[in-house]
């Protein structure tokens, strides 16, 4: 009888956690997708400032960076405060960072240079701040592709090695932002400080990574 209750309680606990994770994920979908859809709607209808192209590029760029930092803050926060719930949504937040970053690049190609492929490739190669940003995006792309559970299992140890590249990616994104502005360096500097703070929590991992 007693055994029975413990079991049902455990099952109950487990299902309630599942329920919580689902709800939390739903919330993340909403808070990542709604602003994105809203921004595109305003930009398509010429309501996003005088230059919707610049506005949507900046919006998706800073959004990708915000989400990337958020995904990197999840591990230290969940460890510190012992909230395992957070870890269950880390992948989703990371994937949304990639979605925003992908939109950022697509905006540049489709709306900024307007399919002038020569100019597009030239800018990526010739402009160091774009080169750096592109490198960051390629890392995020490889992480997004390998994020599915099947590949994670198949890749074994190599998976973690690959996904440690996210630390390089976030550094590249920080430099990309800092390098892109004309003179207003305060905001990008704050981002760089946050980036370094999040990286400093992984000093051990990073030094092992080097070996």
């Amino acid at each position: 009888m007693k055994k029975d209750t413990v079991l049902t309680q455990a099952i109950y606990k487990k299902s309630s956690l599942k329920h919580k994770v689902k709800l939390f994920k739903f919330f993340i979908h909403l808070s990542a997708l709604l602003p994105l859809i809203n921004a595109y709607y305003l930009a398509f209808t010429d309501q996003l400032g005088a230059d919707p192209v610049e506005a949507i590029i900046h919006f998706t760029g800073i959004g990708a960076f915000n989400l990337l930092l958020l995904s990197l803050a999840i591990t230290p926060i969940s460890k510190r405060f012992r909230v395992s719930l957070l870890l269950k949504v880390r992948r989703l937040v990371g994937l949304y960072s990639f979605v925003y970053a992908f939109c950022h690049l697509a905006n540049f190609l489709v709306f900024e240079v307007q399919f002038d492929w020569v100019l597009f490739l030239n800018e990526i190669i010739k402009r160091p701040y774009i080169t750096v940003g592109m490198a960051g995006l390629l890392i995020l792309l490889s992480l997004a592709v390998t994020s599915i559970s099947l590949l994670k299992r198949r890749m074994g140890k190599r998976w973690q090695k690959l996904h440690n590249w996210v630390y390089l990616a976030v550094a590249l994104v920080g430099i990309h932002f800092y390098w892109s502005v004309k003179s207003e360096i305060i905001e990008p500097s704050i981002y760089l400080i946050i980036t370094l703070a999040l990286l400093s929590l992984r000093v051990k991992k990073l030094t092992q990574f080097k070996k």
């Binding site: 602003p35 309501q47 996003l48 900024e112 010739k126 402009r127 003179s183 305060i186």
Partner: protein, 352 residues
Amino acid sequence: MPFLLHIGNNKFNKALTVLIKTPKSYVIKENEVTPENVYLNRRGLLKGLGFLGAGALLSSTSTNANADWFSKDEPTKFKTTQLKYKSDQNTDNLILTPEAKVTSHNNFYEFGTSKTDPVKNAQSFNVDPWQLTISGECDKPYTLDLDDLTKAFALEERIYRMRCVEAWSMVIPWVGFELAKLLKKAQPNSRANYVAFETLHDPQQMPGQASRRIGGGIDYPYVEGLRIDEAMNPLTLMSVGLYGKTLPAQNGAPIRLVVPWKYGFKSIKSIVGIKFIEHQPASTWNILAPKEYGFYANVNPKVDHPRWSQASERRITSGGLFARNRIDTQPFNGYGEQVADMYKNINLQKNF
């Protein structure tokens, strides 16, 4: 909730406050306990907090439209008045950039570094009284008051392309007079090889001058300069208006320079001083980043900015994201016929 109440916008707060509790008359209002500059910049602070997470993503695009729901407390609007002028026939049939865009997309760091900051922060800008002094190497230095700016010289409309160094452009119907007329009146002497310009320095009115965070780390006042022949060129305009009315504050009221064959940053705004000088004057962006912004700053598709191409540009007119507006950039922004001669003896790659 108190946090939300503190950072939110005034009217929105009031609505919330009513919902939650009616404040007693003795309760100190937030604007009485918050330093004025912090209070006035509360939305800037909110924006600054945007990096906190995805939930705050929207705040960085709170430009207009549905975001206005939170920001309808514009207290005053800068006053503009109708001008009398000879209109431009627009023989090139240029498509004008809509007035709403010309007046809401501005690089005027004195009022904030974001393109949408000036229209928000400049509405209470007071230009009366205003004094523009013309001095230096000349026989008859003089001063123009606010009234003189629109009355001392006959006004005409000039529809010009405006090419920003950031690779976007507009077409703007300016109202003004040739700078040459203003300069000749002062009778410059033989040492007047250059003309230096200076923007108003008034940190109390211009938040970007009071705070490096808002002003983008530029040393103010903003200064610019032209060679005397450039300044005397008939294309060089002193603008006192656009779209038939006096200049809005965010566009450089009450008087600004317009040099259509040069990148936009040469066209200095809200000018208080014009000085004839012997040697090449300093110019703000050149001081800040000499490898990126030259003294001449002639529009040149062959000389790229180190961080982006100048071969083409996006012409801002109407239309949203799908406006196919990328066009080739013309040497001297298409005004070569009138200005190229002035540069035949200098290397434009070096003197960019």
